[in-house]
Symmetry: D2
Subunit: 341 residues, 4 copies
Amino acid sequence: MRVGVLTGGGDCPGLNAAIRAIVRKGVQECGFEFVGVRDGWRGALEGAIVPLDIPAVRGILPRGGTILGSSRTNPLKSEDGVARVRETLAAYEVDALIAIGGEDTLGVAAALADEGIGVVGVPKTIDNDVTGTDYTFGFDTAVNIATEAIDRLHTTAESHTRTLVVEVMGRHAGWIALHSGIAGGANVILIPEQPFDLDQVCEWVRDRFKIRYAPIVVVAEGAVPKAGQMVVKDSSLDEFGHVRLSGIGEWLAREIADRTGKEARTTVLGHIQRGGTPSAFDRWLATRFGLRAVDAVYERDFGTMVALRGADVVRVPLSEVTGGTKGVDPALYAEFGVFFG
Amino acid sequence: MRVGVLTGGGDCPGLNAAIRAIVRKGVQECGFEFVGVRDGWRGALEGAIVPLDIPAVRGILPRGGTILGSSRTNPLKSEDGVARVRETLAAYEVDALIAIGGEDTLGVAAALADEGIGVVGVPKTIDNDVTGTDYTFGFDTAVNIATEAIDRLHTTAESHTRTLVVEVMGRHAGWIALHSGIAGGANVILIPEQPFDLDQVCEWVRDRFKIRYAPIVVVAEGAVPKAGQMVVKDSSLDEFGHVRLSGIGEWLAREIADRTGKEARTTVLGHIQRGGTPSAFDRWLATRFGLRAVDAVYERDFGTMVALRGADVVRVPLSEVTGGTKGVDPALYAEFGVFFG
Amino acid sequence: MRVGVLTGGGDCPGLNAAIRAIVRKGVQECGFEFVGVRDGWRGALEGAIVPLDIPAVRGILPRGGTILGSSRTNPLKSEDGVARVRETLAAYEVDALIAIGGEDTLGVAAALADEGIGVVGVPKTIDNDVTGTDYTFGFDTAVNIATEAIDRLHTTAESHTRTLVVEVMGRHAGWIALHSGIAGGANVILIPEQPFDLDQVCEWVRDRFKIRYAPIVVVAEGAVPKAGQMVVKDSSLDEFGHVRLSGIGEWLAREIADRTGKEARTTVLGHIQRGGTPSAFDRWLATRFGLRAVDAVYERDFGTMVALRGADVVRVPLSEVTGGTKGVDPALYAEFGVFFG
Amino acid sequence: MRVGVLTGGGDCPGLNAAIRAIVRKGVQECGFEFVGVRDGWRGALEGAIVPLDIPAVRGILPRGGTILGSSRTNPLKSEDGVARVRETLAAYEVDALIAIGGEDTLGVAAALADEGIGVVGVPKTIDNDVTGTDYTFGFDTAVNIATEAIDRLHTTAESHTRTLVVEVMGRHAGWIALHSGIAGGANVILIPEQPFDLDQVCEWVRDRFKIRYAPIVVVAEGAVPKAGQMVVKDSSLDEFGHVRLSGIGEWLAREIADRTGKEARTTVLGHIQRGGTPSAFDRWLATRFGLRAVDAVYERDFGTMVALRGADVVRVPLSEVTGGTKGVDPALYAEFGVFFG
């Protein structure tokens, strides 16, 4: 059996660990041959297929990124996309595909499975917003990086009268902000799932200043204030008249400074959250996902995805992940209100 | 309501995070008063009770260890132990206890609950061997530390012809060895649950040398060879005739060196695995456990323990944890055989 | 002898290590008594004096920030400043002062010494721009943090066609940018000492893209383009007409994106560079500085500052540091041109 | 000009950074061609020469180990060694050699230079015991790793009545022990340069216990007790009658436990101190050394070694390093006595 492996979407710590586990188990225990599909679905469309054997995966376990490259190309967006994927697979005699990715990549996998192509999915995303699995790999690493940054801010915050705003990743889901904010002891945490009230934020900030310790505000990049609180000013237009908003973190720092009369500074963690060596948990999870994905291929149980449920890795239908992202439950968010202010 | 908090057993990253969450929520949302019981059950026996309020828990979230101290004292081992605990609680007007600990501490908690004392348990242990919960806090930190050590050994291993043995914690359960060994890309992982065959270990080591790369062997401190393979030599007696075995790691390195004819070195991580700042996951889990333990006290749902199930924190009877430690399932261990050698 | 200790200016990893060494040696070996002056020179002006003994310095070695607080208050800026400092010292019977700080704090120390006050200086700053000493503590920690961030960006950069800009600290001196940029393998490094040519920067960026690997640009916050290259647009005015420039990092990313036609993203490390536990080097240096500052006081060699020269800690006149900041030598910067592009 | 590069002795973080800098500068600025000599002087003896160009050094900056391999082979130990090195260089048309290594490797380099072979030396060793240079790369990384381990032990030490012994590297010189012990706040530091008095050590340990905090003892692997204090017992003979001493750390823990009556535990850091990614300082230093070594070759200033003096990289005669290792000065060691006990 010849099996293709591809990684799609944003890069994410743990991708290489998953690829390694797939190849090691597939070759050593199942007698599979593997090929790598370059740059996500783009390689499947364009026939960019590379050899993938055990020597190719040596030493990659602790490395971030993906040796196969990635892209956001979506074959469903071109009319003949599915046909071209099918042609590539036929041309390279690929019997089955293991697709590692987030919601988009797995959505394509689900559609291809519906078309009869033998696909097994492996969920990954630093945002942790894939439905059907307790956690995705990449997330734990991102949270650790953000938490360490918040830790560092505490010591510097202790000796100054200023608000420190940390902008973390999370366009649609606030998991990184919530986990790192709680782990880091933030005084305010703002997530996309719940539009925030700028007045409330400033009240928390003022409360914090009263007990002489600079407030730390963690804000997900996708968080937004309540309707009407963010005014798009002329200043956010560039010389061509295009809207050119800075990130929410910088905006928030300005507003807090204006309203509280105290200095505010922003740290934008940006891509350092998705880079570097994966945490032990992410390597463990990625490895287990990889091993179990091979089982699914071996049993020809296509159209499925591996998923974490408690301490177990199980198999769920790929269709489970296509119903939208998994956000932070308001009840969970509310539990942590005791730490705000 | 006045609530006592105690931490028992070996220290563990996340204890302070749990204490902080308990006090913050108990005081701010439930109107509780708290006292700290010093040094685990010893403080309950001897009346070592200290004040515990919000200022006392400021800044402790990222710190390892426990501000309340710990001990392995077991009140059930003295005849009047339960009576003395009851007296202490009465003397200080303590209405309920939150006991944070591993199997032993929680076993005492279960027994006291049976005697009608209002106790809620919070599981912790770096060994991850408490039944009834998917994970305990402290474990993730320990695994990260061990994994980072293994990572470092890889680069040095690449340029020498020698076996590197890493001894990690785990007297009864191999969770740390298994997780860190898999995350670190070890070539052999030995756990207490499964007596190892020294010949097999040496075969894996020799196989590894063939592809020119020094083997890394991760061994839990409680791992043992198959019956008959470890001979207690005279050399392990000290000048008083007492048996004075070095750890299993050192023993193993000697045996491997003798049998393969190639140098072998040991690293014993020891207590660095249970010290230092907790990982983001452990802080998150400890915080959630703390918050939910307060809920249980508030609802007077005594005799219970908080536990992780998937991404949820639930409540289970304390009696669930008293049936022995949770070991690594042989089937799970077997899954990783593909990486050995 | 009663000795006051104060920390001034921005906080900096290693301050607590220095304070601890001063108190340990002063009390144990010289029989000194110590008091802490709160919040830098402000405490000296306002008589904010606190006890400072061995128990007060236990456990602070690895902690960032300063237990004495800090400020940028300059007593030389008020007419009666020197007199008030003198009064405070007299009122609390303080015979000598150890002032730990950067250029400003040490400048005040030099002036006070000229007025006959017994002062010894200890240089610190994460920017490493104090003259008279090879290195200041705080710098090594900042460089390690920035380097780790750049490391993380590399893995994510490998799989995308975008420029990554990292803005690091350094208003007047480019030491952090240069050291972290070289240690992190950046493709472009921009420092305040040398106005950059945006066209040259974009050329390096384009060259880098040709060998298929996203460029990483490290820019000190104080770096500026050559005259005429930065146009203050209307868009940088806020609703009150005030200029509200984002940092240089964000500006640079926009310009590079516009000119190269490829996406560019910014990471602003901000205060995480000055927070958290000091590196081993900074703890070592701060400890040695502290020990030697006590020697200087003991020998009543006032008006001096401790300084690193090679592997030795020596004593130099405080006047040496008042001649301006120590910038990156153009010849040193030029040496690294081989890594650009 | 064709230049060979070799790395000899124990591996060390920063070797790859040096190789990269050498190749980048040599090719881009001097028009050199490079070849790699495999496994230190062994490759020079046996003609194991590999291509070494810019693509070969991409991405190696942050990686531990050495892409060229290493060995402890010494060509001076075989009669025709020098002749064979000369033959290899002639056969591959190598005009000059850059030898990166510690005392042994550089000693060979000095001897070859005396024979008229064009050699430039670059000092490296985690032990920091090369004379002629303030610091060698590799050392800072090792110290950071050991310090972090000691940090972790503090939190666990706080809650137990036991002595924690940490054995760090350093056969002949105590630099790692001294720097990490001071940076980590150890209570006792033992170095090879100064035989220790076991009674004094135990007194310090007992003093420490009095103020309720477990003592941490850092011991260099080469440290030894005063004459007569270490008795080689029968128990240290193996079944063949060979002496089989455990490390000094384990021995010390046993003795301290016996004499103080309190438990003692050992952590042996071993090879994790020389593995993994180099610290920012080591990458900076290795890079600068590499750049300057190329200058020396370009100027045909053979028989020299690059060296750090203060913040400058200078050139010194290779003969300077052959006078023995650089140990810790007793006066420097004595300075830190204030922290013992």
